[in-house]
């Protein structure tokens, strides 16, 4: 994967990663720090 992160690969798949897109745009920290590992939809927390 050429050292691409899980999130980058997830995004590259273009399979409606709404939660991940939101997380990446909202925070420069990784998903684990932001959401303690939970994979969420934006409406789950907005």
């Amino acid at each position: 994967m050429n050292r691409r992160s899980f999130l980058q690969f997830f995004l590259a798949l273009s399979i409606s990663p709404v939660a991940v897109t939101t997380v990446v745009s909202k925070s420069s920290s990784n998903l684990c720090n932001s959401f303690d590992g939970w994979i969420l939809k934006p409406e789950d927390f907005q």
């Binding site: 994967m1 050429n2 691409r4 992160s5 899980f6 999130l7 690969f9 997830f10 798949l13 399979i15 409606s16 990663p17 709404v18 939660a19 990784n30 998903l31 684990c32 932001s34 959401f35 303690d36 590992g37 939970w38 994979i39 969420l40 939809k41 409406e43 789950d44 927390f45 907005q46």
Partner: protein
Amino acid sequence: MKMYLNEETKAKLSDSRFDVCIVGSGPAGITLALSLEKLGKSVCLLEGGSEDFTEDSQALYKGKNIGDTYFHLDRARLRFLGGSSNHWTGWCKTLDDIDFNRNYITSGLSWPICKADMDPWLDEACGILGIDPMKADSLPTVIGSELVKTGLVFDTAPLRFKERFAAELDNSNSVTLLLNANFKMLNGHDGAVKSVSAISSENIDVIIYCNTVVLATGGLENSRLLLHVSKEVPDKFFPTSLPIGKYWMEHPFYELGTIVGDEDVLFSSDENMAFLRPSDEFQKKYKIFNSCFILQKLKGPEFNLEKEVKDLLRVAPNLENSLFKLMRRNKLCGASINVVWEQSPNVESAVRLSDEVKDRFGIQSIELNWRKSEIDRETLVASIAALCNWVLESTSSRLRLQDWVIRNDPYPDHGHIAASHHMGGTRMSVDETTGVVDAELKVHGSKNIYVAGSSVFPTAGWANPTLSIVQLSLRLASHLSRRSSL
């Protein structure tokens, strides 16, 4: 009949000649032997161990891991009558259609046979294993554009080949089960084996004369013994250039995290486990291999559902209503997520012979260089993406992944690691550059050396291999019974 190799039985065997000599009495060897008996052939079935586990026999499986973190090589398999069926879990599933053809990734990965070539032996194989063929070969249920629910036989007591077939072997007039008979060498010339040398733990030698030999010693030893023969008598039976030991595969098997949500959506009624895999279309779209997520309901003191829900609501407060509704209906559940997946065949992932260590019979020990590659990680991550997408879009459930997954860290070196499925090393292929045996499981270039077992798998699918091993053994028996030289 059953006998141990000693001076008395050695004398009895000196005048015997068998249609087939099978080396190894695990699921592949026993299936093949009893099937050949029904087809009117005489068989000598060699087992290096005894009827029961012994430390001395098991020690012959010692080897060294020089690749990715892996189990001790004398623990992931068993060396006595019945082989590793003496400790397997009994899970069974046919390979998927797509497993036979990976040309959408790159050429040269596909099987030289297809699923339809193995289907004629499905019912008989399931009969041997005592499982329902409809369940073992069930079609997947589409649950989204990217994910399907797949069937798996996991709730049947695992068949112990020793317990099930020991008496049948002993009572057979056509099968001679020779215990305490450790493979030593093939004898013959010009690609044709005339006999097999074996040796007892007391160093009593015997020569078994046969028209055909089949190595059925498991997914590591098949490579080891062929490498041994190739080194001791180069080019005598097959070209030394064959990629013996290479393209060795496991099923990587890791815990991924947990899921909290709707029991009715995640699980079928009354079942505590669910099996999900990426759809064929998804695998082709992203050029990945197969995988399977194993969801298992978490209950009891080891899992605190209330704490898990509180953790979820802390970061996702808007889920409170939906989770509360599930709780009122008593349908809120937690489940663990494990994943098992298919490796890309990798020439660097290989069984080879140690330059330093030999066993007590002078055969070099194994050095296993098991390697997972970048495409294996891509298969994992893309498959997780499909799972996440399905959970988010189609369910009121939410999942939580472990740090190593989220951070794309190296694989954990603890936990399951792998499924103890030893595959490849003598892979099936059309030509001798990419494999060791042909579509009929005959070693390329040889006249009468065959290989049975999961070492012949060109690719691994995600499914537990035993059912496919038994199907291939029955298919091999059918092929051998039609050979005029037998």
